[in-house]
Point group: C2
Chain length 355, copies 2
DNA sequence: ATTAGCACTTGAATCATCGGAGTGCTAACC
DNA sequence: GGTTAGCACTCCGATGATTCAAGTGCTAAT
């Protein structure tokens, strides 16, 4: 709000960066004296104090109380993050672990995301999250029907690249020939349609096609619709929640409780993330309440989209205190999402010749 | 260790019960004076003090420090719980909510358990858990194969009453006629077999049966084995972790962290629970470290098995502070598991005639 | 423009004090 | 003998005073 030119001289930059670094490392406010140790800044504490006062005026720093050091404001973190173009690179072994874990799961997006989120949490030591965003257009691409006994069958649906199943029970018989017929009708008539596009005339036509087995259409279609609506809700998973506790900013019970409540109130988050998830190919970083829910005062969200055939099919990210190790987190998330995207887009894995 | 007859006179029972009740309600140690308000105990504080001293000697009570009131020991809670034969009954509306939620999901054990665990957490206000125990003998009961394109297919397996799917990718073509052939071979040869029973001769025989498509057998069998071994690991889910925070006994950060760490270290829990899950038709209650992992000093675990065709297929439970509302929790878990068991065993739901 | 120095502010830690709650025990009471 | 009133004793927790150290802002000197 209040003015302040955007231009920072080199020394201010160095000081700001040093403050953020120090605060990330220690978690405490940092004072002028401490900064004199930093080689990059060749001046006395008094000078630094003056600079810090100006940085505070510009909104990059904050003072918890009069006689404490400074901590970076959200704007300060933002500046710092934007500065970080030189990526922290994962070590060879970390990359290997990642690749190895992904190689197991062939194209099972669900399983892959689960693996990835665990890995992300482990590698960064923060809470990780995986997201399957809400999608506008959900439709079944392929149906299959597996008959179990006289009155039971399993309906198998391919949605995107995810397989969903649903039990069908009927109080009238489901003869073997009816299942294949029904599967054929379903594939012919309602592949590619969203729940809203399955109309009554369509259903009636299907019933006509089913002949004497018309009674099966209604329950099956209902099952399809249920599955579709269940699917488009998106999905959000967390892993490593307890890692939050290791960081002093969450030692405050109330804050922690808010955070956990946030984790459970997935709907809200999902909504926001689903929007954001569609945007861009880069790692996205939300600092504090920059954009998202306001609960996240002291937290930062880092995530990146996973795409298949150019379309976002999920996202993976990290949530943690604002003073997080950005280099590492960014690198991890970037690398993970890149590898997942790669794994699900370049199929054809060579069939190793084990005994 | 030190002696003490098991017999408690009526007054002692009344006092012990009153203390547990009060401590559950308030969370604080309870003193002799407070208990005089209780109508059931018609005597003065001094008498009560004497009785309490004896109860402490017998091991049913503890004193945090000399000049505090008493709190129930684990043995005290145990006694209290065993005393609770009169069940707390859920209200009509609660039962209705439960039934309604279950009715939606037809026999999808996974979805049902998910619903149930959410409900359990909501109804009791504690952290709830659902368990699919480790099982000794896992075998596929039925195979189906869905062809997607020239090199991809989805293998669909019915394990118990759970459907699992797995992508199959091949670097050689998967022609349509091969899929049905392969499904037939799989159904003929390896239904009912555990991973260990799928031997090399068997595989070779299958390859012979597949004729020119023999190259498909190996990757598919491998997928089957992976799925089976993935499945027998059991599964443990938590819901409502943040509810723990509402209780003062978890206001201690370290305790809380231990607890959360426990939640993530599912393997261990799974192991213990899988054993226990097989036992009995009653609600099981573990108080403190009575039996389980030692982390759970101040916590109680209440759970009950869900059975299908008489066999345990899962369990649902609550975890919370030792001073929990046992009546309510026991009733909820009992009712939930009973309803689930009912839902998955008595199929044939009437097909309502909605327009 | 930079720096040294100093007065000032403020939260955190330490310590002593005090009050209340609750006990255990003894002596009186039924 | 069981029950109760009374009292001395213990111990925790809250309160408040004091001290301490860190860090600032400002002024004057370089």
């Amino acid at each position: 709000m209040s003015g302040g030119e955007k231009v920072l001289n080199e020394r201010k930059k160095a000081i700001l960066k040093a403050i953020v670094d120090a605060h990330i490392a220690g978690g405490e406010p940092v004072g002028s004296k401490f900064l004199t140790q930093n080689q990059q800044i060749g001046c006395s504490s008094a000078t630094i104090r003056n600079e810090m006062a100006e940085l505070e005026e510009m909104g990059y720093l904050e003072q918890p109380h009069t006689s404490a050091g400074r901590i970076p404001s959200e704007a300060g973190y933002r500046f710092y993050v934007d500065l970080l173009i030189d990526r922290y690179n994962l070590t060879e072994s970390e990359i290997e672990e990642l690749r190895g874990a992904l190689r197991q799961k062939q194209n099972e997006l669900d399983a892959i995301m689960q693996t990835a989120v665990t890995l992300a949490s482990k590698l960064t030591n923060y809470t990780a999250l995986s997201l399957r965003p809400r999608q506008a257009r959900i439709a079944v691409g392929r149906f299959e029907l597996m008959r179990l006994d006289d009155t039971t069958a399993v309906l198998i649906m391919l949605i995107g690249s995810v397989v969903k199943t649903k039990y069908i029970r009927s109080n009238r018989a489901i003869p073997p020939e009816a299942t294949s017929l029904l599967a054929g009708v379903l594939n012919a008539k309602i592949t590619g349609l969203t729940a809203g596009e399955i109309t009554l005339p369509l259903i009636m036509e299907m019933e006509r096609m089913m002949g004497e087995y018309d009674y099966l259409v209604s329950p099956v279609v209902r099952a399809v619709c249920e599955t579709i609506s269940g699917f488009d809700g998106g999905e959000l998973r967390f892993e490593g929640i307890n890692r939050l506790l290791a960081y002093p900013e969450f030692y405050d019970m109330d804050r922690l409780r808010e955070m956990l409540a946030l984790f459970e109130k997935k709907d809200k988050l999902l909504e926001v993330l689903s929007d954001e998830a569609h945007s861009g190919d880069r790692v996205q970083i939300y600092i504090g309440r920059e954009n998202l829910v306001k609960v996240m005062d002291n937290s930062t969200l880092v995530f990146k989209t996973v795409t298949q055939d150019g379309k976002p099919v999920g996202a993976i990210g990290i949530i943690g205190p604002t003073r997080m190790n950005y280099r590492r987190v960014i690198a991890t998330i970037d690398s993970l999402s890149r590898n997942i995207t790669e794994a699900i887009n370049a199929p054809k894995d060579k069939d190793g010749s084990e005994s």
